[in-house]
């Protein structure tokens, strides 16, 4: 693998068998992707395009049918950690135990893990909520804990699976700004999955646009906007040009998908 890269994916394919119909479906097809160390890369695409599947392959939750994914071997910490779509905090653990969970999984004693989780809890601005249970926190705060949990194991690359999708629009905006602040402090490579175009542009150095199923890479767009970025940047002309460009790519995908559905009137739209 090339020096300076955090992730190198070559020709990744993922096939699965639909349990209901027995049909073989292609979820991800011929994905080549390089991510440089420290880069913030987003993947956008129509829903069901296999972007989350790709992330889960990187995370090792699914096996790829074909192709290779290489991750930079870290000097310290772990290769990757996942920030889940729903916060997936254990309701039976307090916040500090949830955040420390990744370390406990590595065999770190609980007390030490809690101590090491503390700075990350501070980083995501959850100071004072250590002994609360997840249900006592708002959705945005739960996602902060979710992020802190992934950061605690000191991953080379942070995998984020639509982490703000379930939040209301205002909280989501704030969380995006927060994420950039944290990213700036933690210096991590990030692979971020979203279906929100403006979120992808605002956060990323590069936006990868994926096609409708089977997911292929349609475009790889470098986002040349100055950092640090304020939320106001979303209303700048450059930003809007990027958004239009990406939206038109996705729109063609949605249209062709619609035609496909209309062409086969007998089948159910699933």
């Amino acid at each position: 693998m090339q020096a300076g890269l955090a992730l190198e994916a070559r020709n990744v394919r993922m096939e699965y068998v639909d349990q209901a119909t027995g049909e073989r479906l292609l979820a991800v097809d011929r994905v080549d992707l390089d991510i440089e160390e420290g880069q913030f890369v987003s993947i956008v695409g129509p829903s069901g395009c296999g972007k989350s599947t790709f992330l889960k392959i990187v995370n090792g939750l699914f096996p790829a049918t074909d192709g290779t994914i290489e991750l930079r071997r870290p000097d310290h910490g772990v290769a990757h950690a996942m920030v889940f779509q729903d916060s997936s905090l254990f309701p039976w653990y307090t916040i500090v135990d949830n955040v420390a969970y990744g370390l406990v999984c590595q065999g770190v004693p609980r007390k030490e893990a809690q101590a090491r989780a503390k700075p990350l809890i501070d980083l995501v601005s959850l100071t004072g909520f250590e002994t609360k249970f997840p249900y006592q926190l708002s959705g945005g705060m739960q996602q902060r804990a979710n992020l802190a949990r992934a950061l605690t194991v000191d991953p080379e690359i942070l995998l984020m699976d639509e982490p703000f999708a379930a939040l209301d629009a205002q909280t989501r905006e704030l969380m995006q700004a927060e994420l950039l602040r944290i990213w700036n402090e933690a210096h991590k490579t990030v692979l971020f999955i979203t279906h929100q175009i403006d979120e992808a542009i605002y956060l990323s150095d590069r936006v990868i646009v994926m096609s409708a199923r089977p997911g292929r890479i349609l475009a790889d767009i470098a986002i040349d906007l100055p950092r640090p970025r304020k939320l106001e940047i979303k209303r700048s002309p450059d930003f809007i040009t990027y958004a239009d460009q990406i939206w038109s790519l996705i729109a063609t995908q949605l249209k062709s998908h619609l035609h496909e559905v209309q062409a086969k009137p007998g089948e159910s739209v699933a």
Binding site: N59, G60, L61, A81, M82, F84, D86, S88, F90, P91, W92, Y93, Y101, G102, V104, C105, Q106, G128, F129, T131, K132, F133, P134, Y135, Q136, V153
Partner: protein, 275 residues
Amino acid sequence: MTVGSQGLARSRTPHPRRVSVAFLSDRVRYGLIGFLIVIPLWELVVRLGIVKRVTLSAPSIIANTAINDLLVNRELWPHLFQSSQQFFLGLGLALLTGVPLGLSLGLFRRLNYFLDPWLSAIYATPTIALVPIIVLVLGLGLESKIFIVWLEAIFVIVVSTMAGVRAAEARYLDLAKSFRASRWLTFTSVILPSSFPYILTALRLGTTRALVGVVVAEFFAANKGIGFFINFSGTTLRTDRVMLGVIILGLLGVLMGEGVRRLERRFERWRPEFN
């Protein structure tokens, strides 16, 4: 922060509590109306001789017997003590064996396939039909009674615990897998807490079944215990005592159920009160 949070926690409580008090008062009100209609009617039916005293007894007679047997001659206490002993030993053993068995059956598919036909067969057999064999093997002592209680209680405990293991949510299992949790840690951090509410349900169901087991055991091979007391009183035409025994069993069942429900509430502090 801690102080503020406690304030928060307290401010959450009044609402559900107010709801439950309103609910309870309605419950109590209508429950009382039921009693006020049925009890005098029952008394009347017996007093007027519509139904014989021997067949139904009467509330006033039962109350009198209760005072006599519990406070004056205290005849009932040894029976109660005997039954409690069997109940707690039998239920305790059923929990100690049933919960680990249920967890194992939920975790290990092959063990499940292996044991399932046997469990289903024994589950379908009324325990009472096995009493003669149990007495033959274990004798007439405490052992056979504890075994009968154990047998009555264990299946619901196994089945409910097993369901608890299956109830572990995929997203939590994914999370554990994603952080490369060991099998043991996955068990203690995800599967066990997920199945905990089900284990408490197992306890509640097991309690009811164990009570049935106590009566079954004492009906057939005993000279002491509430079940024996009921059976013996029946054969000597003391219907008032039969009724008293039945009422005591009913009350015990309700009390145990309420106790477990309290335990459930206590242990589920991580859940919001109303989802």
